[in-house]
């Protein structure tokens, strides 16, 4: 993770569009190493992008860690197998 940007007065990134794209690719593991390195370097002097990166990363982690998994109903697998058997029998 990059260090905190020195200039924290900047309100808007001049390359916003490009940064949004890089940020998304990096979070989703779709960026190449070079793109990631360039963006991480950029974060060191861009407060708006630094904040956005932190928030988007936190939202992704929130989804991954807090959404509860639903338990599969116990009879579903049996029911599927039964139906498949029925399908085969009725198709003969």
């Amino acid at each position: 993770m990059s260090s905190f940007p020195e200039d924290n007065t900047k309100k808007k990134c001049a390359e916003e569009e490009k940064c949004f794209q890089s940020l998304q690719l990096i979070l989703d593991g779709e960026a190449c190493e070079e793109e990631e390195a360039v963006f991480m370097k950029h974060l060191e002097h861009c407060m708006p992008c630094f904040n956005l990166y932190k928030v988007d990363k936190a939202v992704k982690e929130l989804l991954q860690s807090r959404i509860q998994k639903k338990e599969v109903p116990t009879d579903l697998v049996q029911s599927i197998k039964k139906n498949i058997y029925f399908l085969y029998e009725s198709a003969r």
């Binding site: 988007d56 936190a58 939202v59 929130l62 989804l63 998994k69 109903p73 579903l76 599927i80 498949i84």
Partner: protein
């Protein structure tokens, strides 16, 4: 020339029904957990999720011969499930927003998608949220936006896999994901504000 792909047909040739079923179960049953959760997040109803998963497995079984070896089994099943959902469950869905796919696409391919609402959302307030709050925010999104977030963030599919599951170009995967996340952040921000988290 069409690329040569080997379907299951050869592999299954001469196998007994029991052997074929065993292969089917071995390949696809371990994925039932992810499928059921995807179905539930789409329908928001346990019975509907149950029906949708059943139907997905029946279709998969019917097309097991034409399943291409080496295909990503999870993506293949997710695609079948998503198509079944669109074809049948949407008709009787309780969801009030009956947004047409094309309409949605036009909407989020327009230029106004990049408004940045993040400035008002703090990392600390995000981290304070509990599972139900996050699930409610996610469930409040229109189904197309909800779907892409589930596929990407909960199931970890790549852009290429999502493009195949949803039958849309990768560029559209990216723009839809971007739009979906902005909408989700907006919901989270409203929630945080109403709960007094976002001081």
């Amino acid at each position: 020339m069409e690329e040569e792909k080997k379907t299951n047909k050869e592999r299954l040739k001469g196998l007994s029904k029991a052997e074929k079923d065993a292969l089917f179960e071995q390949e696809f049953m371990p994925l039932i957990d992810s499928l059921y959760n995807f179905a539930y997040r789409l329908t928001l109803d346990e019975d509907d999720a149950n029906d949708l998963v059943q139907e997905t497995y029946l279709k998969a079984y019917r097309f097991f011969d034409s399943y291409e070896q080496g295909t990503n089994a999870k993506a293949w099943l997710f695609r079948i499930l998503k198509n079944s959902f669109i074809n049948e469950f949407r008709k009787k869905s309780k969801e009030p927003s009956k947004v047409d796919y094309n309409e949605v696409e036009t909407f989020y391919n327009s230029d106004d998608v990049d408004e940045n609402i993040t400035a008002d959302l703090r990392v600390e307030s995000i981290q304070e949220m509990i599972g139900d709050e996050v699930a409610n925010a996610l469930n409040a999104l229109a189904v197309d936006f909800r779907t892409i977030i589930i596929l990407c963030d909960l199931e970890g599919f790549t852009y290429e896999e999502m493009s195949k599951i949803l039958d849309i170009p990768i560029g559209t995967v990216r723009s839809r994901l971007h739009r979906a996340r902005n909408l989700l952040k907006e919901k989270l921000k409203n929630y945080a504000t109403s709960m007094g988290y976002n001081k």
